[in-house]
C-alpha cells in the first residue's frame, strides 16, 4: 500500500464567490401564473395569434433584407391565401406540420376506449408529413427541398419565399426566421471578454471567475438509485470532497441550478409493466405497489438539497417527472416539500422554464444580501457581467425532437434553432401542453439569454452560438448547455459566468453497484 500524501488543511476557511439574483426585466418575463393570467378558459388559438403578431414584423424586416436583391423582385404578400400564382413572392405565417402519426385529440375521442390506447410514439415524423404555413386567412401547403433541411416543427413563425404551383402548393425556395433576439448585455460582456480572454485559461477553474453549476435528473426514488453519486455531488459542492486544489475550484461555484426531475416518477414501476398480472393489480390497491413504494424520496431529496443549500444558493425547477403540473410553464414546487431546505432564503423553487438574472453585485432591491456581502462583492464586481440564464427541464426539446427525424437532427441543433426562431417551445400548445395564455406568449424569446440550459437530455452537449448581426454593433452569444440526467450520467456541468466556458464534473463508482452503468 502506498502511503497517500497528506492533504493540507487550509488555515482560513475558503469563501465562495458570491453572485446575486437580479430582478427580471420585461423582456425576460416571469413564467409564474398569477392572478392576471390564471384563467384556463381561453382558447389556445390566442397563443398562435399573439405569437404571429409579435414575430411577423421582425420576420418581414428580415425577409426584406434577405430577399431584396433576388432576381424576380419578390413581393411580400401579407396573407398566405392571397399568394399570386406564378409570381415569386414571400409570405409569413405559422408552420403547421401535418403528421399522420402526431397525436390528435380527435383521434383520441374517436378511439375505442375498450381497447387500451397505443403507447405514445417516440417519433411523429414519417414520409407522409406535409408542411403548411398558416395565418389568420388560412393555410397553404408548402413544398420544396429546403423544407426538409430546415427541420421545422409546428408553431414556428417563418417567412417563405417561393411561387405558387399549379395545384395550389407553395413551392418554397428559401425560408427566413426571426433570427436571434437582441442581447442587451452583449456589448458590455464582449468588451470584458476581449480584455481578459487570453490572460487565463478560459476553461480552467483556476481563475477568480464565478461559475454556476447545472444539474438535472436526480431521480431520487428511482429503482436503481444514484445515492452514492448524489452524496459525492453534495460533498463536492460543499467543498469537502477532493483535494485542496479542487476545494479551491469549488469555491468558485457560485450557485446551483437543478433543471428538473429531482424525483423519479412514482408511477413508472417497471415491474408492474412487465407482468400485467391481475393479482398484482389487487396488491396495488392504493395506487402504488406496496412493496416498492416508499415515501422517502422527498425526504432523501430534501436532505441532499439541504446539504447543498447550506453551501450555495440552489435553484430548483420542476421537471416532467416531478410532482407538479404537466402543463408548461410548470409552477414552482412548494418549498415546504423540502423540509429543512426551505429555511434557506437562498434556496428557490423556480418555474419551468425560468429566467434567472445573475449579477456580480446585489441589486438595491435585495438589501439584506447587499449588506451582508457588499465588501466582498466589490472586489468581484468588475469581472462578471450580468448574465441572463434561461433554464428549462427539457420538455420543449423532447417534444420537438419527436417531430424531426434523427440521426440528421440533433437535440443541440433543435435548441439552437429555437434561438433563431425566437421561440422557446413552438410545439406548445400543439403537442406540448401549455397554459392557455390569452394576451401573451411568454415562450417568445424577446431577449437572447446568455446561457441557455436544457435539462434531462440524454447526453451532455454544449455549443456557443454566436451571431454577428450585419450592420449592428455587438455580437450575440449564447451558450447552449444540454444537461444530462444525473442518475444516468452522474454529470454536473459548470459554466463560467464571465467567459461562458464550460466544463463537466462527473461522479462515478468503480467496481461497485450504483445507479450508473458500471465501467
Amino acid at each position: 500500500m502506498e502511503s497517500l500524501s497528506k492533504l493540507p488543511v487550509p488555515d482560513t476557511p475558503l469563501t465562495r464567490s458570491p453572485t446575486f439574483i437580479l430582478p427580471l426585466s420585461t423582456t425576460t418575463p416571469s413564467f409564474s401564473i398569477n392572478n392576471t393570467n390564471k384563467s384556463y378558459k381561453h382558447q389556445y388559438a390566442n397563443i398562435y395569434f399573439v405569437r404571429l403578431r409579435i414575430l411577423r414584423a421582425l420576420i418581414e424586416e428580415n425577409a426584406r433584407k434577405r430577399w431584396k436583391e433576388i432576381a424576380g423582385d419578390p413581393v411580400f404578400v401579407p396573407r398566405v391565401l392571397e399568394v399570386l400564382k406564378g409570381q415569386l413572392c414571400y409570405i409569413i405565417g405559422t408552420v403547421y406540420m401535418d403528421m399522420p402519426l402526431k397525436p390528435n385529440v380527435l383521434d383520441d375521442i374517436a378511439r375505442d376506449h375498450s381497447i387500451p390506447g397505443p403507447p405514445p410514439r417516440q417519433k411523429y415524423c414519417s414520409p407522409e408529413d406535409s408542411t403548411m404555413l398558416e395565418d389568420e386567412s388560412g393555410r397553404i401547403r408548402l413544398v420544396g427541398e429546403c423544407l426538409r433541411s430546415a427541420r421545422l416543427v409546428t408553431g414556428v413563425i417563418m417567412g417563405a419565399l417561393g411561387i405558387e404551383t399549379n395545384n395550389g402548393d407553395f413551392e418554397v425556395v428559401d425560408i427566413c426566421f426571426a433570427g436571434m433576439a437582441p442581447q442587451p448585455n452583449a456589448a458590455l460582456a464582449n468588451i470584458k471578454d476581449e480584455e481578459n480572454m487570453d490572460v487565463d485559461d478560459a476553461a480552467g477553474l483556476s481563475g477568480s471567475d464565478e461559475w454556476i453549476a447545472l444539474v438535472s435528473g436526480f431521480d431520487v426514488g428511482a429503482p436503481s438509485p444514484s445515492d452514492a453519486q448524489l452524496q459525492l455531488l453534495s460533498e463536492y459542492l460543499a467543498g469537502e470532497a477532493g483535494g485542496f486544489e479542487e476545494q479551491v475550484h469549488v469555491s468558485r461555484i457560485s450557485r446551483l441550478i437543478i433543471a428538473g426531475n429531482s424525483l423519479a416518477p412514482v408511477v413508472a414501476d417497471e415491474e408492474a409493466e412487465k407482468k400485467p398480472n391481475i393479482h398484482e393489480h389487487i396488491q396495488r390497491r392504493y395506487g402504488y405497489d406496496n412493496t416498492s413504494f416508499t415515501p422517502h424520496p422527498t425526504r432523501n431529496l430534501s436532505s441532499y438539497l439541504t446539504d447543498m443549500a447550506r453551501s450555495l444558493p440552489v435553484h430548483l425547477l420542476a421537471g416532467p417527472s416531478d410532482p407538479s403540473g404537466t402543463i408548461l410553464p410548470q409552477q414552482p414546487l412548494p418549498r415546504a416539500m423540502f423540509g429543512g431546505t426551505s429555511s434557506y432564503s437562498s434556496f428557490s423553487t423556480e418555474t419551468n422554464p425560468t429566467y434567472i438574472h445573475i449579477g456580480a453585485s446585489s441589486s438595491d432591491a435585495e438589501p439584506s444580501t447587499g449588506k451582508a456581502s457588499s465588501s466582498k462583492t466589490s472586489s468581484h464586481a468588475s469581472n462578471m457581467p450580468e448574465r441572463i440564464v434561461l433554464v428549462h427541464s427539457g420538455q420543449p426539446v423532447d417534444d420537438m425532437f419527436r417531430y424531426l427525424p434523427s440521426p440528421p437532427t440533433t437535440r443541440l441543433g433543435i435548441v439552437e434553432s429555437t434561438l433563431r426562431w425566437r421561440h422557446l417551445a413552438p410545439t406548445a400548445p400543439d403537442t406540448l401542453w401549455c397554459h392557455p395564455y390569452f394576451t401573451m406568449d411568454p415562450f417568445v424569446l424577446q431577449e437572447t439569454p446568455d446561457i441557455y440550459v436544457v435539462g434531462n437530455q440524454p447526453e451532455f452537449k454544449t455549443k456557443l452560438v454566436v451571431e454577428q448581426p450585419k450592420g449592428e454593433e455587438g455580437e450575440k452569444r449564447c451558450r447552449i448547455v444540454l444537461v444530462p440526467g444525473f442518475r444516468e450520467s452522474g454529470t454536473l456541468v459548470l459554466v463560467n459566468l464571465r467567459t461562458l466556458a464550460v466544463r463537466t464534473v462527473s461522479f462515478a463508482v468503480e467496481g461497485m453497484t450504483g445507479g450508473e452503468v458500471e465501467a
Binding site: 427525424p405 466544463r503 463537466t504
Partner: protein, 577 residues
C-alpha cells in the same frame, strides 16, 4: 485527539461494522475534512497488516482524456430514433455535420469512488489525477455504493446543529450569499403581487402624511372636493360626503379585522365619560402610532384607535412579509396618490364630529338622541327632504379647529389605506350600507352627525350609551338583510342555458325597492372601473377573432344587467367563458 479517533474508528469499523466516511469522522470530532481524510489514511496504514483490517474506498479526482469523449460523441445519443425512417438526403447530412462539428468538447473532471481492489483500474482511465484520498473505511469491501450513504443521516443531523462559521471551519465552503430565513420575493416589478406591498406601504404613508397633514389639509380645503373624489375607488363618489365616511369606517372593521370590534365596543362606554378637552390631548398622543393602542380609551379616540390598531396590525405584518424595497417604493408612490383622496374624504367627513366635539352642551346631546330617533323614522320615508349638504359642510369647516380635523383625517386615512383587497371583500356589505345611508343623508345636519356616531360606534360627547347598542344592531343587521328596515339586497343564482347549450349558473343580486337600485349600481361600477380598465385594454390587444364574439355576447345580455355595474361584470365574465 488521534487516540480518540483511533478508538472511534476501531469501534465503528471492527465492532459495530459500520462504514465510516471522512465526513462522518469530521463531524464526530469537529475536525476539518482534510484532516479527517488524513486520519482515515493513518488509521488504514496502521491497520493494513493486521488480521482484522479495514477496507478502504478511495475517491479519485482528475481529468479524463478528451478523446474518449470525442469518440462517443459522433452523431449519436441514445435517443431512440425511428429506425425504419432514415433519411438519406444528402443535404440533410451536410447540415447536420455542420452543426455537430461546432459542438464543443469540454474538459471533464471525473470523480470516481473506487474500492482499493479497483483503484488501479480506475486510475488508468485518468489522464491526470488531481487528488486521491480515502473516502471511507469499512469492515469489508464496499460492493454497493449506496452503503456510503448509511452514515449521511448522522452527518446531516450534525450539520443541522452546526453554526455556519463552525461548518466553514470543517471545510464547508459557504457562500456569503447563502441566507437563512424566509424567501425574499425578487420578482419582476410587473409581476409583483400588489396586495402585500400595499400592506407594507400603508403605515409608512400614514406616518408621512401625518407630519405634514396640516399643510395638506389647507391645500385640500382650497381644492374642490368633488375633483379628487373621482380618482378614488370610493364607490360613493356621487353621494354627499358624510355617507362616504360612514361607509368607510363601517367597512373597515368588517373587512379588515373583526376581532377589533369587541375592543371598539368596550371603549365607547368608557369614553363617554371622558371630557371633551381630552380630545386634543389625545390627538397629540396619537401622533406616534404606537400609542394607538394606549391603555386609556379616549373620547372620540375610539375611531382613532381603530385606525391605529389597524395600522399597528399592518405594521406587525410587515416583518413577516418582507418585500424588496424597490417595489415598496413603487407602491408607496401609488399609495400616496390614493392617500390624497383619503385626505379629502376625511376632511369632508370631519365636520360633523368636529361640530360635536366643539359644542359639548348637554342640550346638544339630547338633541342628538332625538335626532337619532328621527333618523330611524326618516329612513323609512326615503329621501323626502334633500337638504343642501355643501352648505352645512362649509359651516362646519369654518368652525372646526385644525387639530381635531387632522385627527379625524388620520383615522380615515388609515381606513382608506387598508388593503385594497380587504376593501373589495367588504364591498357587498358596503353597498348595502351605502344604499341605506343614501336615503338618510339628505337630511340635515343632525342626521349626518348621528351617522358619524354610528361610524365611530361611540361618541365621547354622547351621554346616553343606550342608543348606541341599538344602532349597532341595526348596522349589523342590514348587511345580512334580515332587517327589512331599508332595502334588502337579494343575492340568488339562476341556471340558464347559454348559446352553446351549456348550463350556466350565475349569481345576481337585486334590491327590493327600485329607488335603492340606483345607488347600488353606482357602487360596483366606480369601484371596478379601475380593474376593468385594465381588462378592456387587454381586450383591445386581443386577437381579432375574439372581437366578434365579445360583441355578440354583450348584445345577448339582458338590458337590465348591462345597465348595472354588476351586470357589466357579468357580461365580461360571460365573454371570457
Amino acid at each position: 485527539m488521534t487516540s480518540k479517533i483511533t478508538d472511534y474508528l476501531t469501534k465503528q469499523i471492527f465492532i459495530e461494522k459500520n462504514v465510516v466516511t471522512f465526513r462522518l469522522l469530521s463531524r464526530q470530532f469537529n475536525v476539518h475534512v482534510n484532516e479527517s481524510k488524513n486520519a482515515l489514511a493513518t488509521f488504514y496504514a496502521t491497520n493494513a497488516t493486521s488480521d482484522e483490517r479495514a477496507y478502504a474506498t478511495y475517491l479519485l479526482s482528475g481529468e479524463v482524456p478528451l478523446v474518449s469523449k470525442l469518440g462517443s460523441k459522433q452523431n449519436g445519443g441514445p435517443a431512440a430514433g425511428n429506425e425504419d425512417y432514415i433519411d438519406e438526403d444528402e443535404v440533410m447530412e451536410d447540415v447536420n455535420e455542420q452543426m455537430d462539428d461546432l459542438e464543443e468538447v469540454v474538459p471533464q473532471t471525473k470523480m470516481t469512488l473506487a474500492g482499493e481492489q479497483d483503484l488501479e483500474r480506475a486510475k488508468s482511465t485518468y489522464s491526470r489525477i488531481y487528488s486521491e484520498y480515502i473516502y471511507c473505511l469499512s469492515p469489508s469491501p464496499v460492493h454497493d455504493a449506496g452503503l456510503i450513504c448509511t452514515s449521511s443521516d448522522q452527518v446531516y443531523a450534525a450539520d443541522a446543529k452546526l453554526k455556519p462559521d463552525v461548518a466553514a471551519s470543517l471545510g464547508r465552503i459557504i457562500g456569503s450569499h447563502v441566507h437563512m430565513g424566509k424567501k425574499q420575493n425578487l420578482v419582476a416589478s410587473t409581476y409583483k403581487g400588489k396586495e402585500p406591498a400595499v400592506r407594507v406601504a400603508t403605515p409608512v404613508v400614514q406616518a408621512k402624511e401625518k407630519t405634514n397633514e396640516e399643510t395638506k389639509r389647507k391645500e385640500l380645503l382650497k381644492e374642490k372636493v368633488p375633483a379628487p373624489k373621482k380618482e378614488e375607488k370610493e364607490p360613493l363618489s356621487i353621494k354627499p360626503k358624510p355617507t362616504g365616511k360612514l361607509d368607510w369606517s363601517k367597512a373597515k372593521p368588517r373587512g379588515k379585522a373583526e376581532e377589533k370590534e369587541p375592543q371598539v365596543k368596550e371603549k365607547p362606554s368608557v369614553a363617554d365619560k371622558k371630557p371633551k378637552e381630552e380630545i386634543k390631548e389625545e390627538e397629540e398622543k396619537v401622533q406616534p402610532e404606537k400609542k394607538g393602542l394606549s391603555l386609556k380609551p379616549k373620547a372620540s379616540g375610539s375611531k382613532d384607535t381603530i385606525a391605529q390598531v389597524l395600522a399597528f396590525k399592518v405594521k406587525e405584518e410587515k416583518p413577516t412579509k418582507p418585500r424588496d424595497s424597490s417595489n415598496l417604493e413603487v407602491k408607496r408612490g401609488q399609495k400616496r396618490k390614493s392617500a390624497l383622496p383619503a385626505d379629502t374624504e376625511s376632511e369632508e367627513e370631519s365636520p360633523p364630529s368636529r361640530g360635536k366635539s366643539i359644542t359639548p352642551p348637554i342640550e346638544r346631546m339630547s338633541g342628538l338622541r332625538l335626532k337619532r330617533k328621527t333618523v330611524i323614522s326618516d329612513s323609512e320615508d326615503e329621501d323626502e327632504k334633500p337638504k343642501p349638504q355643501p352648505k352645512l359642510k362649509a359651516k362646519a369647516k369654518s368652525k372646526i379647529p385644525v387639530e381635531i380635523e387632522s385627527d379625524n383625517e388620520k383615522s380615515l386615512r388609515a381606513m382608506m389605506d387598508i388593503d385594497d383587497e380587504q376593501v373589495i371583500k367588504a364591498s357587498r356589505s358596503r353597498i348595502v350600507r351605502a344604499a341605506e345611508t343614501s336615503e338618510t343623508e339628505p337630511d340635515d345636519e343632525p342626521q349626518t352627525e348621528t351617522q358619524t356616531e354610528d361610524a365611530d360606534m361611540m361618541d365621547d360627547s354622547d351621554p346616553a350609551p343606550k342608543p348606541q347598542p341599538r344602532k349597532r344592531k341595526q348596522k349589523k343587521a342590514i348587511p345580512v338583510g334580515k332587517n327589512g328596515l331599508k332595502k334588502k339586497r337579494i343575492v340568488s343564482s339562476r341556471n340558464k342555458l347559454d348559446e352553446k347549450g351549456y348550463m350556466v349558473t350565475e349569481d345576481y343580486s337585486e334590491y327590493e325597492s327600485v329607488e335603492e337600485e340606483e345607488p347600488a349600481e353606482e357602487v360596483p361600477k366606480t369601484k371596478k372601473s379601475v380593474a376593468k380598465a385594465k381588462e378592456t385594454k387587454s381586450e383591445e390587444s386581443k386577437p381579432i377573432k375574439a372581437a366578434p364574439r365579445k360583441s355578440k355576447s354583450s348584445s345577448t345580455e339582458k338590458p337590465k344587467r348591462t345597465g348595472s355595474g354588476k351586470g357589466s361584470q357579468g357580461s365580461l365574465m360571460n365573454f371570457f367563458k
